[in-house]
């Protein structure tokens, strides 16, 4: 137990020191270069805004977080399903995979307005943008996991005449779990990006803004301190979702591989 606390300290102290140093530098830079607050506010100013606007900001974080989680969950379900379909037929894979790559390469800012036009502003528009941007890593990574089972294990299943379903559930899916989780980690951060960017275009209502909407508003009003506060919160949101997924990874994979985070890497 003692070891664990020491480990936690060793892991958490250096980044905290870095953070502190960065805040001090930031503060000094603003004072020394005499930056106007509409360009760069002092950290103190941002802190004050965070407290003053705590209610609306918390509400906004919740709204954006909800859309991001929703988009992430849909990506997870849809991405895994698509990957399963891909893994069952090389023909289907070859015919559709290039179009899955489209999801990866299309600039989301180019199609977000289109999606909002179709779905109307509000929650679902944002969720769809978040899904589109976070889908590909899961599809790519899970498909790779499902189709790269070591040939010895495939032989084992052939030897015992396992059918397709047994092979999928007892071999391919368990083998793909580490890859799936890696995809999910990449995708979780993107889902937050998607929900913020989605809100740039879709927003909710002006009296119910998410973080993305606060960012666009405060920037057009030159309320840079509020902009910073929203930025920090969206970063924290990403870190939180990423952290949760990583934690789940460790818990599941430790049992199989004795803590090796990614045996396929």
């Amino acid at each position: 137990m003692n070891d664990r606390i020491r480990h936690a300290l060793i892991v958490s102290i250096p980044p905290l020191v870095t953070l502190l140093a960065m805040i001090v530098l930031w503060h000094l830079a603003v004072i020394v270069f005499q930056m106007p607050p509409y360009l760069v506010p002092t950290p103190k100013r941002v802190g004050v805004v965070l407290l003053q606007e705590a209610g609306p900001l918390a509400r906004a974080t919740w709204l954006s977080g909800r859309a991001a989680l929703c988009g992430f969950a849909i990506s997870l379900g849809l991405g895994t399903s698509v990957a399963i379909v891909f893994s069952q037929s090389a023909l289907v894979r070859r015919s559709l995979y290039p179009y899955a790559i489209f999801l990866q390469t299309v600039p989301i800012v180019a199609i977000a307005p289109l999606i909002i036009n179709w779905l109307g502003p509000g929650f679902w528009g944002v969720v769809v943008v978040s899904t589109i941007i976070s889908l590909f890593p899961i599809v790519a990574s899970t498909t790779a996991g499902l189709t790269t089972v070591p040939s010895g294990l495939v032989d084992l299943f052939r030897l015992h005449r396992a059918n397709r379903i047994q092979r999928l559930f007892k071999l391919q899916l368990p083998h793909a779990v580490p890859a799936l989780i890696n995809g999910a980690r990449a995708s979780s951060g993107l889902a937050v990006v998607g929900s913020i960017v989605g809100e740039f275009f879709a927003g909710y209502s002006v009296d119910e803004p998410g973080l993305g909407m606060i960012i666009t508003h405060s920037s057009s009003l030159l309320k840079t301190d509020l902009l910073f506060a929203a930025m920090i919160l969206s970063a924290l949101l990403g870190v939180m979702i990423f952290g949760t997924v990583s934690l789940l990874t460790m818990l599941t994979l430790r049992r199989w591989y004795g803590g090796v985070a990614d045996p396929n890497a």
Binding site: D155, L159, P174, W256, G258, V260
Partner: protein, 256 residues
């Protein structure tokens, strides 16, 4: 009455991408026999064994396994098990559930499964506590035992073993050789055993088949008339030395 032939290849040939690996291999194993396959590396021993298991189809010739004369592709000849050179355990299952896999695939009921798994683990000398371990937490010897337990859980009458002990140290190998031989005697299996190790082949087998040439054929067959039961003192005997030398010589010829 002579025992029936349970593994038979007739003029079996195998080519990969135009390159012939095996050409016209005739191999016969009678029920209850322990036959070892020896040959230089890359001569096609694993290929021959995989053909016998039905994992590969011969390019020409025929392969037959089981007393009923059915090939392994047809249903109902599950009396054959294969042990790979690599233990091939599923890392996400503990030993118990790895051993359970063939029975799960077969769809056997749980209660019967539990009995079979416990029997099989006991047979290979794995304990209760080991059964709950995951493969990453096992020693090489224990992994091999688990792999063997998985092969035995279907109660096969024919065992195909591809260098199962190649990755183990000499001590452990000697010990597992003795255990395997004792089990063979008790269970009356037909065993086709691939190895690189001459002493291992002599110690275990009734008969040694040497593969060689380019492409490979059976170049020699050596009977091993050593009496059973065999134990490690046999390894020091003059007869054992003579047989080892004979096998060694024909292996040299095969590699030349």
């Amino acid at each position: 009455m002579t025992p029936p032939i349970v593994i038979e290849t007739c003029a079996a040939s195998m080519s990969y991408a135009g390159q012939t690996v095996l050409s016209g291999v005739d191999l016969r194993c009678a029920a209850g026999e322990f036959v070892s396959l020896l040959g230089p590396s890359g001569c096609g021993k694993s290929t021959l064994l995989r053909m016998a298991a039905g994992l590969e189809q011969p390019t020409s010739g025929s392969v037959r396994i089981g007393a009923g004369g059915r090939s392994l592709d047809s249903e109902g000849t599950d009396a054959t098990s294969f042990v790979f050179q690599d233990p091939n355990l599923l890392p996400w299952r503990d030993v118990w559930h790895n051993v359970a896999l063939p029975l799960e695939i077969e769809g056997m009921d749980r209660k019967e499964q539990r009995r079979r798994i416990a029997d099989s683990l006991r047979l290979v000398g794995l304990h209760e506590a080991d059964a709950r371990k995951y493969p990453h937490a096992l020693s090489g010897g224990m992994r091999m035992r688990a792999s063997l337990a998985r092969a035995l859980v279907t109660r096969p009458s024919i065992l195909l073993l591809d260098e199962p002990f190649a990755a183990l140290d000499d001590m452990l190998r000697t010990q597992l050789n003795e255990e395997l031989l004792a089990l063979w005697q008790r269970e009356n299996w037909t065993v086709l055993f691939v190895t690189h190790n001459i002493a291992e082949a002599v110690f275990l087998s009734n008969r040694i088949v040497v593969l060689g040439g380019k492409p490979s054929r059976c170049v020699a067959e050596i009977e091993v008339p050593l009496p059973h039961p065999r134990d490690r003192t046999l390894r020091g005997s003059a007869e054992f030395a003579r047989l080892t030398a004979e096998v060694s010589a024909s292996l040299f010829e095969a590699s030349a």
